[in-house]
């Protein structure tokens, strides 16, 4: 059972940020290769995004995202309130052009 206050906080963050990345570390200093890959992809696109470092509360946040979006691993990229995916999906969608479409940017 996820922490109710934390869950609400996460839901508010997702609602407030059209593009939001939950990652290990920060965009300036990713602490995980998968998170770094998503940061690099987003860096090539002309898009502003919010970033949340999950490391300070990894397990509680894992419980929250499991309830919200049935996804346990980080990074997680949310676009317009929906989980788009982790590093594999983000890269695949970047390569196919679907990511630019989802983000509403032109390359």
């Amino acid at each position: 059972m996820a922490d109710a206050a934390l869950k609400q906080q996460v839901e508010e963050l997702i609602a407030a940020n059209p593009v939001l990345l939950f990652m290990k570390g920060t965009p300036e200093m990713p602490r995980c290769g998968f998170s770094m890959r998503v940061v690099q992809v987003l860096g090539t696109m002309d898009v502003e995004y919010g970033a949340v470092d999950v490391l300070p509360a990894l397990q509680p946040l894992r419980e929250v995202t499991t309830e919200i979006s049935d996804w346990q691993t980080f990074p997680q990229l949310y676009v317009n309130g929906e989980l788009l995916g982790g590093a594999d999906i983000v890269e695949e969608m970047f390569d196919s052009g679907e990511l630019a479409e989802a983000l509403g940017v032109s390359l």
């Binding site: 996804w71 982790g86 594999d88």
Partner: protein, 69 residues
């Protein structure tokens, strides 16, 4: 394991580090038809969750596709 959960699936697993706990799986399954990528991945992750829970696998990269694509 994935094939048992998704009958008819064609699964290819690569051991990325040689240690057996960092795997890359390419899965083509008829069950993926009509699903978004995230839902396709959810099916695969659900099939292997046990191996994560017992610590046998630490990292799994997944690529999903429709059979014959």
């Amino acid at each position: 394991m994935i094939e048992a959960a998704l009958p008819g699936a064609v699964v290819e697993v690569v051991d990325e580090t040689g240690s057996g706990d960092h795997l890359r799986a390419t899965v083509a399954a008829p069950q993926f038809a009509g699903l978004s990528r995230i839902d396709q991945h959810r099916l695969v992750k659900a099939a292997v969750r046990e191996r994560f829970d017992d610590g046998a696998v630490h990292a799994l990269s997944v690529k999903t596709e429709l059979p014959g694509s």
